[in-house]
Amino acid sequence: MRRFVPLAITFIVGTVLILSVFIPPAQDLNRTFTLYFDIIAVFAFFLGGGNLLRVHINKLRMKKRDWQFSIVTLSGFLIMLAAGLFKIGNPGDIATAVDAEGSMFQTVFNYVLNPLQSTMYSLLAFFVASASYRAFRAKNREATLLLIAAFIILLGRTPFGLMLTGWIPESFSILQVPNLAMWIMNSPNLAGQRAIIIGIGLGVISMSLRLILGVERSYLGDDNA
């Protein structure tokens, strides 16, 4: 029974949703199920928040390794939760947006989260430069092709590309670096991306069929697989 019920739910929901695409009167079912999904997803927020509290409170209580960071995590979570729920510092009444200008929620977002995330992402420039220096070596034919393509794209994304090759006559304009960069994006890149998308699509269809027909059962957990 423990195995049959989830398998039956998966089969019925999967089959109905596939049929709803092909049978116009059943199309509303698709939207109804999506709404159900959204309602269920709301509870995931509670579960996620509860789980975060449980894990970090346990870590603090047991004084596990790096427990000090849990204080930061819990403080951040609780402060933002309170700021959002009680709309602390909001200029209007309770009906105004949680992130209205001047609210505590928006202030913390602007002055803490925003610079932190931007800083983390900007570090990428340094690692990309270091990795490019070490990885882009013309070791063999394939690596050389990759190197040339990377060079053209890098140059094509700057005004220098046009400055260096702008003198090439219009009849050979494909050889201008920005046009070459566009060609790489529009031809080899496009072909590769399409192949990947089609491959992923076929994989999704095959996996979905396995799930709907009950062949794939790993989502039920180890005991039921």
Binding site: T34, D38, A41, N114, L116, S118, S122, A129, Y133, R157
Partner: protein, 304 residues
């Protein structure tokens, strides 16, 4: 004419790189901290002493620009801010430029987000960057901010047939039915254009799959540079134009300035950031060349 700061910065960067090239030919490897220092200088020097370049819109950017430009005043355009602060330096300039363009052309604009962080960025951008330039525009009549809704693709799957099921009110709790912008709009199918800005998931790709294709709504996108190659398969049939990274934003801004006098003095973060990006690219290319020089030299591996 470049100022003294620019000349000194370029001399330091390219002089230093020439010295590194010489050392590499002598057979020395370059420590990664040296690379970090050069990238740091290449990115920060053009911010302190701005270097600006002239940009020309590529066809893929121009197509989206033209679509917004040619839509009749009063057209309904939805702009979705599906990004976080990490992506904002690349995507925010294009979000601001497109929003300004739409408001200037008299389109009715709906602002929304599928990312929790997107709503806060959108609120800040509207209050500080976009709306101060349009004091004549009224909330509810010319634009509406409907904010963030959790549910990712699920939200799109619903609003493609019914907006109010997911967004009964705007971000301030005002019912959508009482706003002029939503007059005659039942679903995304009633929109004239959707501009999806982002790069993660849910993002532009989900807008194409769940709204653009099933609803037959034209979609333009603005994304971080690393994501742009993944969207080329959808161009030009399913996506009418792609703005990729800072370069895409700079091209859009330059087109906006060229074609509309009103924006002659507008802030142009995209064009301004092309300086750091250009120099960083040049430095990276230089290091790739040095790396290959070292690779082809005989195996002396000293570190400087």
């Amino acid at each position: 004419m470049p100022n003294l700061g620019v000349i000194i910065s370029l001399s330091v960067i390219f002089g230093g790189l020439a010295w590194l090239a010489y050392r590499s030919i002598k057979g020395y490897e370059i420590d990664r901290r040296v690379i970090f220092v050069f990238i740091g200088i290449a990115v920060s020097a053009p911010l302190l002493f701005p270097i600006t370049f002239e940009e020309k819109a590529t066809p893929i950017v121009e197509r989206l620009f033209n679509r917004i430009d040619e839509l009749p005043a009063g057209s309904r355009v939805l702009i979705s801010f599906d990004f976080d602060p990490a992506m904002a330096p690349e995507v925010q300039p294009m979000a601001n430029a497109i929003s300004r363009h739409c408001l200037h052309k008299g389109h009715k604009v709906i602002f929304m987000s599928l990312w929790g962080t997107g709503q806060s960025l959108m609120t800040a951008a509207l209050a500080n960057d976009i709306l101060p330039g349009f004091p004549e525009k009224k909330d509810g009549r010319d634009f509406v901010n409907i904010g963030y809704k959790a549910g990712n693709e699920g939200v799109l799957n619903i609003i493609v047939s019914d907006f109010r099921k997911m967004f009964p009110t705007d971000v301030n709790g005002v019912p959508l039915d009482s706003t002029e912008v939503f007059d005659g709009i039942e679903s995304c199918k009633d929109l004239d254009l959707i501009v999806a800005l982002g790069g993660g998931r849910p993002g532009p790709k989900e807008w194409v799959l769940f709204v653009g294709d099933p609803g037959n709504v034209p979609i333009g996108v603005g994304v971080a540079a690393v994501v742009a190659p993944q969207l080329y398969p959808y161009y030009p049939q399913q996506i009418i134009g792609i703005l990729g990274g800072i370069k895409g934003a700079a091209e859009y801004e330059s087109e906006l300035i060229k074609r509309h006098e009103r924006f002659a003095d507008m802030p142009t973060p995209g064009l301004r950031m092309m300086g750091p990006q250009t120099l960083a690219h040049m430095v990276i290319m230089f290091f790739i060349i040095i790396g290959n020089v070292v690779f082809f030299m005989t195996g002396r591996k000293k570190v400087i």
